[in-house]
Symmetry: C2
Subunit: 351 residues, 2 copies
C-alpha cells in the first residue's frame, strides 16, 4: 500500500470544537471548473453617499437621522431578526413539534465614517477603536443576554447588502446551536484533560508550525486542522481569555495589528477585497456570567467562500448539505499559500 500523504490521499478529520467531521480530498483541485463565476464588483464605492443609510448624517428606514459620527457608530437594526418582547409560543404538545421563546436585540455597528474603506485599509488605531466597541457592546448586551454574537458579513457574495464597513451584533435569550456545541466540547475537554481545549490546541499548533498563518506577542492566526472552508482561519489569544472585554489595552493594540495583517493577506491572495463571514465566540454572558466558564477560550472564526480565484467560490451544496463537509485542498496547503502576501497590493486609499 502507498504511504499516506494528506495532500494526495483523501481522509476525514475531526473538529473537536464543534464535534463534526470533514472530508479532505485535496486531489480534487485538479478538476476543471466550468460552473458559476461570481459577478466581480466593478462599482466604485463613493466615500460618502447621503442615500446610504449607514453613512454619517443619512436618514435610516425608520426616519432616524444618523449623527455625523467620526469613529464607530452603533445603532438598532431596523429589520431585526430578534426583538426584545416576542411572546412565548407556550408548551409544545408533541416531542416532534418543539418551539421555544426567542428574545433578543440586533444592532449594526459601522466601523468608520467612510464607505470606501474596509478593515485592512483602516489604520491600526482605527481598528483598535472597533475592538473597543466590540468589547463595550459585549458588556452592554451581555448584562442581559446569555449570548452576544458579533459577526461581519463582508462582500456581496456573503449576503452583505451594503458596502459601508460594518458588522452586526445579535444578542439572544438562548445559546445558539453552535455556541451549545462549543460549550459541550470545551466543557468535556476541560473535564477530561484539566485545561481549556483551545489553550492546548494553540500550544500544539505553535509546536507543529504546519498551519500557522500569523503570530504576534499576544495572538495566533492558524488554519484549523479541521477547517471546512478553503481559507478558513481561527484567531486566538495566547493568554487564557474568556471574553472580549477582558482583553488588556496591549492585547487590543496587538489584535488590531494582527487583524490588519491577516486581512491584507486575504486581500492579496486573489487580489480582491476578500469576502468572508467572521465572528467572535466567548464564554456565555447574562445572568449566569458569574458561573465557572474557565473551559472557554475567546476566539474568532473567519469563513471566506472563495476557492480558486476572486470569482470562483467553494459551493457547500449537495454532498456537504446532505452528508458531510468536504474540502478540496488541505489546511496545510492553505497556510503555506498565505505565507508571504503581506505587502499591501490592493490600491484603495487608506485612512
Amino acid at each position: 500500500a502507498a504511504t499516506f500523504r494528506a495532500s494526495e490521499h483523501q481522509h476525514i478529520r475531526y473538529n473537536p470544537l464543534q464535534d463534526e467531521w470533514v472530508l479532505v480530498s485535496a486531489h480534487r483541485m485538479k478538476r476543471p471548473w466550468q460552473g458559476q463565476v461570481e459577478p466581480q464588483l466593478l462599482k466604485i464605492v463613493p466615500r460618502h453617499d447621503p442615500l446610504n443609510p449607514l453613512c454619517p448624517g443619512a436618514t435610516r428606514a425608520n426616519g432616524e437621522v444618523n449623527p455625523h459620527y467620526d469613529g464607530t457608530f452603533l445603532f438598532d437594526n431596523d429589520f431585526p431578526a430578534l426583538q426584545p418582547d416576542a411572546p412565548d409560543p407556550g408548551p409544545s404538545d408533541h416531542p416532534l413539534f418543539q418551539a421555544e421563546a426567542a428574545r433578543g436585540v440586533c444592532k449594526v455597528m459601522c466601523f468608520h465614517p467612510w464607505s470606501d474603506v474596509t478593515l485592512p485599509l483602516m489604520s491600526v488605531p482605527e481598528i483598535r477603536a472597533v475592538i473597543d466597541a466590540w468589547a463595550s457592546v459585549t458588556e452592554e448586551l451581555g448584562a442581559q443576554y446569555p449570548w452576544v454574537q458579533i459577526f461581519e458579513n463582508k462582500g456581496a457574495m456573503m449576503g452583505c447588502s451594503n458596502p459601508h464597513p460594518h458588522c452586526q451584533v445579535w444578542a439572544s435569550s438562548f445559546l445558539p446551536d453552535i455556541a451549545q456545541r462549543e460549550e459541550r466540547s470545551q466543557r468535556a475537554y476541560q473535564g477530561q484533560h484539566g485545561e481549556p481545549l483551545l489553550m492546548e490546541y494553540g500550544r500544539q499548533e505553535l509546536l507543529r508550525k504546519e498551519r500557522l498563518v500569523l503570530t504576534s506577542e499576544h495572538w495566533l492566526v492558524l488554519v484549523p486542522f479541521w477547517a471546512v472552508w478553503p481559507f478558513q482561519t481561527l484567531l486566538l489569544p495566547r493568554r487564557h481569555v474568556r471574553r472580549l472585554p477582558e482583553l488588556t489595552p496591549t492585547e487590543r493594540d496587538d489584535l488590531a495589528s494582527i487583524m490588519k495583517k491577516l486581512l491584507i493577506k486575504y486581500d492579496n491572495l486573489f487580489e480582491t477585497s476578500f469576502p468572508y463571514s467572521m465572528g467572535w465566540h466567548g464564554a456565555p454572558t447574562g445572568s449566569e456570567a458569574g458561573a465557572n466558564w474557565d473551559h472557554w477560550q475567546l476566539h474568532a472564526h473567519y469563513y471566506p467562500p472563495l476557492l480558486r480565484s476572486a470569482t470562483v467560490r467553494k459551493f457547500m451544496v449537495g454532498y456537504e448539505m446532505l452528508a458531510q463537509a468536504q474540502r478540496d485542498l488541505t489546511p496545510e496547503q492553505m497556510s503555506s499559500s498565505c505565507s508571504g502576501l503581506s505587502k499591501v497590493l490592493v490600491a484603495v486609499a487608506t485612512a
Copy 2:
C-alpha cells in the same frame, strides 16, 4: 403580553431528526433587499452538444467515449472526492488532531440523453427509470459501503457546472456526519417511543395539515416544522421503508408522479428552473446491512436556495455560520404559498 403568532413573533424550533435548532423570524421578509442578485440563466441549452462530457457519444476527461445511451447512464466521476484505495493516515498522536481513513467511489448518473430537460419536464416513465437506477446503484454500492449518498445539485447557484440533467452518487467507508446524526436521533426515538421517528412525524403532519405540500397514495411531501431553507421540503413514503431498493413497483410509479408534481410546483413558484440540492437518506448498508435498522425511514430532503424571487437567494452566512440557522418566513407560510402552482408554466419541450 401579546398572543403568540408564529408568522409574526420570532421563536426557535427544534429539528429532532438532525438535533439542531433554527431561529424563525418571519417578520424579516418585510426588509428591503439591496444585496446581490444572482445572474439569470439566459443561455439556451442545446439538446445535444458533442463537447458536453455528459452527452451520449461524447468523449470524457479521461478519454472514454460515452455510449449512445437512451435512458439513464451511470459512470465513474472523473474527478472523484472518494477513491477506493486511499491509504490509512494511521493512528492520531493527539486527541485534537484526529484523522481517519476514507475510502469510497463517486459516480455520476445522467437522467436522460437530452441536455435541455430537467426532471419536472421528463415523463413519469422516464422519472421511474431514474428511480430504478437509484435503487440499483444503492444495491450495487451498498453491498460494499455503509453509506451511499445520492444527491442532485441543480442549477448554477448550487454549484452545478453542467446543465445536462444528472445526479451524483458518493459511497463511503464511513457514515458521514449528517447520517450519524440521523442515526443517533432515529435510534433514540425508537428506543423511547417504540416506533420510527419519521413514521410518527408523517402521521402527525397528515393530521395537522399545516405543512403538507402534496400527498399521494404512497407518499407525502411536506415542509418540515424545523425547515431551515425557505422552500425546503421532506419527501416520505407512507409505508415503513428503510431503503430505496425496498420500494415496490407501484410505490416507484407513484414516487415518479409525486416528484414530477413537486418539481413543477417549484418551477412555477418563481417561474424559473428552480435550483436546489436534493438527496436520499436511508438505513446504512455495507457489511452491517443485516443488523436491525428498523428505526430508519427512507426519505429525501430538498434544499432550494431561493428566498424572494428567481434571482434573490437566502444567504446562510454570518449569524447562520457562527451561531444558528435563521429563516425569514415560517414553514407554514411556505407550504401555503405552494398550494396551487401545479400547472406547467415553464415552457420547455417535455419529452
